[in-house]
Structure formats: structure tokens, C-alpha cells
Amino acid sequence: MVAVQMQDDLRRVLDDEGKLLQGVKVPQLSEDTLGQIFDVMLMVRVMDDRMMRLQRQGRLGFYMKAIGEEASHFAVAPLRPTDWVFPSYREQGAWFWRGYTVTNFINQLFGNELDPVKGRQMPVHHTARDLNLVSISSPVGTQIPQAVGAAHAAKIMGKDDVAMTFFGEGTSSTGEFHVAMNFAGVYKAPVVFVCRNNGWAISVAANRQTAAKTFASKAVGYGMPGIRVDGNDVLAMIQVSTEAIDRARGGDGPTLIEALTYRVQGHSSSDDPSVYRDPHEPDAWEKRDPLNRFRTYLKHIGLWSEELEAGITERHNQAISDALAAADKLGPPPIESMFEEVYEEMPWHIAEQRDWLLRQARTKSPHAH
């Protein structure tokens, strides 16, 4: 029998009250950077709040919140702009951190004529090639081997870029997770796997997703290190991510990071978690809220004030309001755009179908508002 002993210690930097723990590695971040992190965390919170309200008002088709999981997004903080990110659908913070604009974010949600993906994908399926943020796909797990491919390509081409990919703990059950981890191990590809263990995959609890003791322990089967980190501790996230990125860039291969966090609200705007989970379950997590903890930390070190936060919130709210106002004036993408970019050049049959459609009477979308 292969006896396995786990050091199941969760890597942490801040305690639940936002105080620095003793004797742990702390990421070296400038005051500026700390401020930016707080800024982006607030942006996620404000954006989620505003968008969910829009959705409830029937003005937005669909939305997915990340409330309570924002700290985990900052695994991207130590990346270089030339590094690549293969996200799932719940890492808004990663997008804003890398420079994705509120305008692009909102135009994508509305799928309007300025949507960077031209109204072709449902809300929260962003793409930003200029930021090396790869197109989000709904089928979960598909991005994981793709990240390995990009990382391996960088290595083959002699570049020192790193690829990072995000996915939920439920997604670790897919075949794609396995083949990706396995390829990465064999090729020692410079890739960092970030598994956001938020406890739930829609209605299925993490302990029904696998019998493994931890998700990090799955790294054993691929010959790579598995690190378990407090995913509600943004400094710990950045610390372990820095180590994993350094390993990758240094040629030492991939790392699996399990970020322990919690999905405080529903899976998406279509979900009602009260049907399947104890409505009090989130309570325990409230006091471990990543924003609170980081705020307290900043307060301790004198980098936070009520006015500061109010100012940032106000700025974010304003940016969102501006983007919404601008989006309100925009129409849908032109009908022709539906037929474009299926291929680089439009083949005859698609052109024929486009021409036919353009000859038909226009009907109004039942969803237009």
C-alpha cells in the first residue's frame, strides 16, 4: 500500500482578523501595489453588486458573482503582462487586475455592437487578446489543457512566459483536468494550475466531488507539488502564486494550487442555493470574508481610511454608471457579423446564408430592451 502522509497545512499570511501571522513567508509588495489590490477587490465587489441588481431588474440576461472569492483571483498578481491566463468564468478580479476595462466588461455582458466578442457569447464570457487573457468557454475544464499547450509552446520557443489557469474544484472531476495535469507533469511545462475550491459545484458539495483528502493532493498523481492555500487571504494567494510562478519560470515545472474559499451566494443569477444547502452555511464564511480581512490588514498598516474606500467605491460606481449609460446608446452587432469569422475568409455557403437572411424581413428580438 502506498502510504501517504499529507502535511495538510493551509498556507496563510493573514489570520481571520487580518493580522499578519508570525513565521510565515510574506509577499514583498509596495504600498502602491497593496493599494491597487484593494482597488481591484473593491471593483469586483461593486461590479458584482451592480450587475446582479441589473439582472434582477431584467436588464441583463445572466450574471455570475465572485463574492467571497475575490482574493483567489490575485494569483495573477505576480504574473508579467507577457504571461498568459486561461480563466474560467469566475475570476473577474484577474481581468481587472490585468487592465480589462469596465467598458469592455459591460459591453460584453450586453453583447452589444462594441462587445469585444461581438455579441457571440453569453455574459461573463470575456476575451482580451491584448492582455493575454484567453477566451472563456462555458464547458468547464476545456481551458486547462489549452493552458498547458501555451506553456509548453513558450518553452519550446525559448520564451520564459508562464501560463496560469483557473478552474473550480468541481472541474477537477473532468477528464480535461487529468489530461492537462498529466501532460504538464511529463513536459515540465511552465504552468500554474489554480483550483478555486469554493465548496460547491452548483448544488454538489466538494466532498461529493472527490474522495481525495484535498484537491491539492491530486498533484501527487502527476509528479508535481500541490499547495493548499487560504483562498480568502489575498497575501497568502500572492505568496504561493509567486512561488509557483518562479518555479515555472525557472524551469522546474508546474504546480497545483488549491485555493480554499467559499461560494457565498448562488452559482449564477439563475441559481437558488436555498433549495440544496443550509442557508446558514455561508455565515461561518462571512467572518473570513477576503475583503474584510484585507481591509483590516491595510488599516493595521495605516493604508486604509473610510474616505479612501468611499472614494474608490465612488470612482468604480461612476465608471460603471458611465459605461452603462454609454452601453444604453448602443445597438446590437450588425446582422452580418453573425456570419463573419467562422473562418478567416467567408466560404460560399455562409455568404449565401447571410445574403438570404439579409433579404428576410427583420423581426424584433423578444429580449431586446
Binding site: I335, M338, I350
Partner: protein
Amino acid sequence: MPTMNIIEAVRDALRIEMRRDQRVVVLGEDVGKFGGVFRATSGLYDEFGADRVIDTPLAEAGIIGTAIGMALYGMRPVPEIQFGDFIFPAFDQIVNELAKFRYRSGGQYPCPVVIRTPVGGGIRGGHYHSQSPEALFIHTPGLKVVAPSNPYDAKGLLLACMRQNDPVLFMEPKRIYRASRGEVPEGEYTLEIGKAAVVREGTHCTLLAYSGMVSIAEEAAKKGEAEGVSIEVVDLRTLMPYDIDTILASVKKTGRCVVVHEAPRTCGFGAELIAAIQERAMDHLEAPILRVTGFDTPFPYTLEHEYLPNADRVLGTVRQTLEW
């Protein structure tokens, strides 16, 4: 008779069969306590327990792979694939395994698995919550493919599927899951697999439709009637094996035919219907058989109402065959 929508009809069929036959189990992502993201299995967990209403880990290949093993062992699994778009990770298990077990084992191992999955667009789900992949499975020898368009058929056909011994892909039209309501008998009844229904008679042109497109075809027929065009609407109901007799009888009567489906046109099921009809009834055809289908593009988000066939386009295409 009670009125039900499609979701309720599906649930009713599952409940009836699970009560009658201990071997029937449902499995899939979120089908347990939650009752499925469309609530098709709602209440079954409470009645039948976790052993027969099984929440699975997130892996379609695992859902179908284990369902196959269960069926081989003697059970009658009814796996749910949450959206038809997520069936592809299980594609190998379905087309290379499930569909082939009886044949490749020399008849020793039948594999009666009924895969339920919602298909089609119209719910603003974008490409990955809207696809209609029926052609891929119709092209796969060994599978039956059933695609009801209303609650009555959904219940009767699902019961029939669970009582026969071949693997079935049971495609549910998610767009009208709740919108399509109708009278549905209480208790047991089955509809014959492989039989189409002439849901509206007409003399000028035959419309062949199935799943979410039947109501569009009926709407076109109604509009046509107002304008003096008499359209016969055939709801195919089963796509494999499809009901060639009913189709040919109708086309021979009207001499014209238009096929309607949501899936992309090229190599869609419409192509097969056209090929089969012209092989057998060429001398009855007064015009080419035309298609109103989804376009050969990925299913879009914002412009989905432009993508989807609608009654005007169908009627316009019928007219085209009349004017040919």
C-alpha cells in the same frame, strides 16, 4: 385530464417508471436534492433516495460510462446531461461504446441506457447552451434518437424509451420546457418509437419538423392558411429510426416539402430527409425540397432571434417551393 408542461411530463414519466421498475435510476450533475437545473428530477430524490437519484461528480464521460456499466449489470439508468452542449466529453462513450455494445458483443450485451438532455436555443444561452447536435447521433448506428415537441409526446415517448432495450438519446426542447402546456393523461401510456404524427393536415406543401421547431411550423401553417396556403405539418417525434412511411405519404400527397430544424444546415438531419425523399418520391416532387435551418455558424448570443428559424421564414420558403 391534468395539464402539464414538458418538464412536468418528463418528471411524471420518470416517477411512474421508477415506481414500477426498481432497476430504473437517474444520475447526473445536480439531479439529486436540487432536482436538476431545469427541475426535471425535482422530488425524485425525496421519494427514491440517493441510491436511485444519483448526484455525480462533474464528468459527462463518467456519467455515461458508469451508466453503461449499470445497464450491462442489469439496471435501467436514465442519465441526464445538463445541456446538450455538454454531451461531447461523453461522445466516445456514447458513439463508440453505448451504441455498439449489443452489436460488437454478438448480441450478448444489450445496453438500455436512456440519455435525457435539453437541446436547442431560445433561452439566451449563447453557443454553449443552445446547440442541437441530433445529426451526430442519427449518424451513429446503434442509437435511437427521440425528440418530442410537447408534453403528451414527451411523457409517452419517455416511458416507451425506458421500456425497450436499445440505447436512446432523448432530446428535450428546453426553449418550450415550460411554455408548451397540454393535457397529459395520468398514469401509464406509451407512444410507439419510430412513428411521426401529422399534427396538421394540408395539401400544398409538407413541413417536416421536430422538437422546438414544431410550434414554429404550426405557426407558419396557420399564417399560411390565412393567406390561402394549405400546409401539412409532420412532427417527426423519433429521428432514428425516422418514420419514412408517414413522411412519404405526406410528400406524395402535397408534392412539396420544406424541412425545418434549428441545427446548422450543412450535414444536418434535413439533408438526410431530403436525400431519402428524393430517392423514393422524385416523381412526386413538384419542386426541390428546401430547408429552413440554423445557419452554418456557431450559435450566437445577441442575434439568436436572427439565427433561429421563425414562422415568416418558413412560410416564405414554402412559398418559394410553390412558386418554383
